[in-house]
Symmetry: C2
Subunit: 167 residues, 2 copies
DNA sequence: TTAAAGTTTCAAAAATAAATGAAAGTTTAT
DNA sequence: ATAAACTTTCATTTATTTTTGAAACTTTAA
């Protein structure tokens, strides 16, 4: 396999993976492209390389910046803006985890708390509902905390130990 | 909030959460419904409760069974089939993690290995590509292993300790 | 057997999500 | 101030994913 082919395959695969995990395909592809580029890329280049429209490129680059995993760069003497990706993978994981937690898990937790707090527990059916949603709330909360804490592992001796044992 | 309203809200929320994480909405909703039901539910009931077609119900129940998180049950003297969800949340998490790893992460790892193994490293650009995809491969592999090992935590004293510390 | 009760399949329709592109908006150099 | 270079927005179009529903299939009881 030659370089260009490999690069393309990587971008496609990363895009597919993204869309299976609820991140839009183009967003993931742009990210992939920036990840493996050794130098900043202009919007024009992104459009060209992925064969997408200006609007699409603009919106998804913006989204990536909102997530904090892509940065704008200015080159001296250049009018255009260039983009680079966060290349430190631990940092990347932290930011993605935080963002998804904030956007999706936290709101879901709120609802779980609400629905598990109804006072009606007259019937067996209702008791089971309250019991099960309460357990779910505790579980999701714990998982969310783990995600958060896991992101602190990298600078943390215990974390390293745990990872070593788990490996 | 009364019971019926709470139940509905829970089903809707679980459905939305599912679709944000790449699991189709109806599949997640059916799962939610079964999770909070204290007794087995027939396909007819699922259709009725979620207002979906027979085909849709059938396909998604099948998918849930393929994931191993919903079971068929037979009631004595009843022709129809009934369904129940895995209600143990640790077990549920294990099965979802295994399934997604198998379906999505493993294939992605295969591609990452391939593209990071191209022998061309003539230019700076190519060297950076190989370097970055190699790191990504290692990272994803490690994350995948963690997911797998994390699923063994529940029966494991060290795991409990770690969770306690992380909490 | 056979027919009733139930389940699955899959081509077509509907719903949803994403992409386009042209117009509006910015910024910068002169 | 203005015009060139570039970016953003968003109504419309396009692509993708999900759902439907009717026909085919399977199972069971008589």
């Amino acid at each position: 396999m030659e370089f260009k082919e490999a690069k393309n395959k990587f971008v496609q695969t990363w895009g597919a993976l993204g869309s299976q995990w609820g991140i839009n395909k183009t967003m993931a592809q742009i990210h992939a492209l920036l990840m493996v580029s050794n130098e900043p890329i202009s919007m024009e280049d992104v459009m060209e390389e992925l064969q997408i429209s200006r609007g699409n490129a603009s919106m998804n680059l913006r989204a990536l910046m909102d997530w904090g995993i892509v940065y704008k760069e200015y080159k001296a003497g250049e009018r255009r803006e260039f983009f680079t990706a966060e290349k430190n993978l631990d940092e990347l994981a932290v930011k993605i985890a935080r963002e998804r937690s904030k956007r999706e898990i936290k709101p879901a937790l709120k609802v779980l708390k609400e629905v598990s707090s109804i006072d009606s527990n007259a019937t067996e059916e209702e008791r089971h509902f309250v019991d099960q949603t309460t357990k779910l709330y505790d579980f999701v909360l714990k998982a969310d905390n783990m995600l958060e804490k896991a992101t602190e592992f990298k600078d943390n001796w215990l974390g390293r130990l745990v990872i070593k044992i788990m490996k």
